[in-house]
Amino acid sequence: MPSADNPGDDKKLRELLHLTVPAHFEAVASAADAIAETLCRLEVPEQKRLEIGLAVQEALVNAVVHGCGNDPSKNVTCQMQSDGHGRIIIVVSDPGPGFNSVSIPDPKRKENLHSDHGRGVHLIRQLMDEVTFERRGSEIRMWKY
């Protein structure tokens, strides 16, 4: 069960940003920029900002492409919060049916290395400290400690 020291404990979270944007690449790029600006204002170190920024970008693009089917009449939401220990959680959700996050092929395997897609979730998992999928995969929760 979540505890005060557990990143899963949402009760202690402070909301930093909550955005709802159309499922369009330029709109989600603006959302990613807003996240980056907020992190900058919070004086989060540059390396951490870059890692969070890229992970958020990947999550938002996945939400647009897979969650919304590139339909700009649908919306993607992005929420950033922090806990009392300065850890950041970002939640990206879409109205799609979700996906099985376990079934994603490893892009570093030899047979996938030359593919022109399929690296987004792998990158998110590498860049963030804890990543979980909720609502059958239509919501991704990403922690950076």
């Binding site: 330029e26 890229l54 892009p107 570093k108 860049l127």
Partner: protein, 112 residues
Amino acid sequence: MDINVRRRSQVQVIQLRGQVRMGPGVDSLQKAIEEALANGDTRLVIDLTEVPMIDSSAIGILVRFLASAKRNGGSLKLVQPCKFVVQTLRLVGLLNLFEVYDAETAAVESFS
């Protein structure tokens, strides 16, 4: 993202500035490379000196066109990716796939 395409010693140099990510940025990069290949220019240099970040869609474009260029007797080489772009390429296991140069001149001359 800004893009500048020029020809230098039979090599097509594509200079990028800003974040390269899904949307207009990646579309511009794809179009520039496709035009070069359509014109028979298979020697490509992508100057990343002023690029702080590339996303997985940009990486996909680079991988796809590296293969196309090589199939047609050329290559696609990278110039001065920043530490974070190098880290990103390493995380997806692709850093060793590309020839990486510290300067545009060195990348261009490597084709001769």
